[in-house]
């Protein structure tokens, strides 16, 4: 690659904490990298871990789930389920050789705009380190 590799990150944010946190980062004009693209879901508990797999398959170089801090879920328990599922999917993907740095989760509350910016930074850095995800990327060219 001539220019530096810019990883593409797909993030799933819960509406009540993390998405609001991301909005706060915006309102407070905290600059972060444009590599992260956000998909809004109502709760981190909604995130089917297969979404992560699917994103990687589509060619995302990294994925991120973010939800309310444990105990603060707007829906009481969603993030607890999300945590269990994530931990296992993380292990599973690691086992087939996906760089663990690509698969991320974070707790970001509605008041943690700054933390969201940091999370993005870290996620992008890890994905950069892991390099382009083309292990099992869907390759249109092959068609």
């Amino acid at each position: 690659m001539s220019e530096e590799f810019e990883p593409n990150i797909v993030a799933f944010l819960c509406n009540w904490c993390s998405y609001a946190g991301a909005d706060l980062a915006g309102t407070s004009r905290m600059h972060y990298l444009p590599n992260v693209k956000i998909i809004r879901v109502m709760c981190s508990g909604r995130v089917n871990p297969l979404f992560l797999l699917n994103a990687l398959q589509q060619g995302a170089d990294g994925v991120l789930i973010s939800g309310c801090h444990p105990g603060d879920c707007h829906y009481l328990e969603g993030n607890y389920y999300a945590r269990r599922r994530f931990m296992l999917m993380h292990k599973l993907l690691e086992h087939v050789g996906v760089d663990p740095g690509r698969v991320n989760m974070s707790w970001v509350s509605a008041s943690e705009g700054a933390k969201f910016a940091d999370v993005v930074k870290e996620t992008v850095e890890k994905a950069k380190a892991a390099g382009p995800m083309d292990q099992f990327r869907r390759r249109q060219l092959n068609w």
Partner: protein
């Protein structure tokens, strides 16, 4: 071991009951080192039933394979019981199916069989070639096999399934009738194979799986034989939305295998059928065992041992580990 006569009598006893629809067990295969699973509905068929070290298949898989046929108007659905013979490992499938409300405890009659291990077809053919053995018997740490008239004795480990060499449940965990003396557990599972695999760096791991998954022809045998896979419509073959494409390439094949493994997280009861049936030798259990090990370590959870347990991913503990979470 189990006395065939007793097994057949028990089967007859069950089949003549008018609240029993069918019985699932094993019969002699037409060739080679594996028995054939068999479903019989009539007491007159019991003499085909056997149990020995060739009875590798998991009969619990066949409970949910039976289609629910449309019931003609006015007619009553057939709700008679299914009788099923299970080894220790097979019985965990029954337990987990009960956890997941696949059917009620009263819908099945479980005939438990204490088991000392079953033969791995692949190992056997490497050792004896493409032949059909005569009598096969287990005594102590040895397996005796009759091949071409002569009796050969080999170390248990060389011939039995790997799962048997780390079997923690040789005796059924659920059964209405135990057809034979309980046997003593001879092994434990340290997941050494998982640890070994994990020594690899990501690149090596992927290189390994890339080769394995490329072989997959997506016959879905591994899914269909799995006693835990009985969704009405499997997400893998679903069209709306299409999670995985039917087309075969490394991307879709990988996605399929990860999905399959994921859906067994906290549910796999390690009967090893998925790996046994694979026509292209994909080491499918390597994925399942990784999860089984981690589920045990992270959540102190083991599926298929307690019918009262909550499903792993339908419950949580506020203190669950979260070391990778930012």
């Amino acid at each position: 071991m189990v006395d065939t006569k007793r097994l057949q009598e028990k089967a007859k006893e069950v089949l003549i009951r008018d609240d029993v629809r069918r019985l699932i067990g094993w019969k002699r295969g037409t060739y080679g080192f594996e028995a054939a699973p068999t479903v019989i509905t009539d007491a007159s068929q019991v003499d085909q039933l056997i149990f020995d070290a060739t009875c590798v298949q998991n009969p619990a898989s066949f409970i949910s394979l039976e289609e629910k046929k449309p019931v003609p108007r006015g007619a009553e659905p057939d709700t008679r019981k299914i009788a099923v013979m299970v080894k220790g490992c097979d019985s965990r499938a029954i337990v987990q199916q009960l956890v997941e409300k696949a059917y009620g405890r009263d819908d099945v009659i479980v005939l438990g069989i204490p088991c000392r291990g079953v033969i791995d077809r692949r190992k056997a053919m490497k050792m004896f070639g493409d032949v059909t053995p005569g009598n096969v018997s287990l005594n102590g740490d040895k397996v005796a096999v009759e091949v071409g008239g002569e009796k050969k004795e080999v170390e248990r480990g060389e011939l039995l399934m790997d799962k048997c060499m780390r079997c923690r449940y040789p005796n059924p965990l659920v059964s209405d009738d135990l057809l034979g003396e309980e046997v003593e557990k001879w092994a434990d599972d340290e997941f050494a194979d998982v640890d070994e695999f994990e020594k690899m760096v990501p690149e090596e791991k992927w290189k390994y799986w890339e080769e394995q998954f490329s072989k997959c022809i997506r016959c879905y045998s591994c899914r269909n034989v799995c006693p835990m896979c009985y969704c009405v419509e499997c997400v893998v073959t679903k069209m709306k939305p299409q999670w995985t494409r039917r087309s075969t390439d490394i991307s879709e094949n990988t996605a399929y295998h990860i999905q399959r493994a994921w859906h067994l997280a906290g549910r796999c009861i390690e009967c090893n059928e998925c790996q046994r049936v694979c026509p292209v030798d994909i080491p499918i259990m390597t994925l399942n065992r990784k999860l089984t090990r981690d589920v045990k370590d992270m959540f102190e959870y083991e599926p298929g041992v307690d019918a009262e347990a909550e499903p792993l991913l339908a419950c949580y503990n506020p203190q669950d580990p979260e070391e990778y979470i930012m």
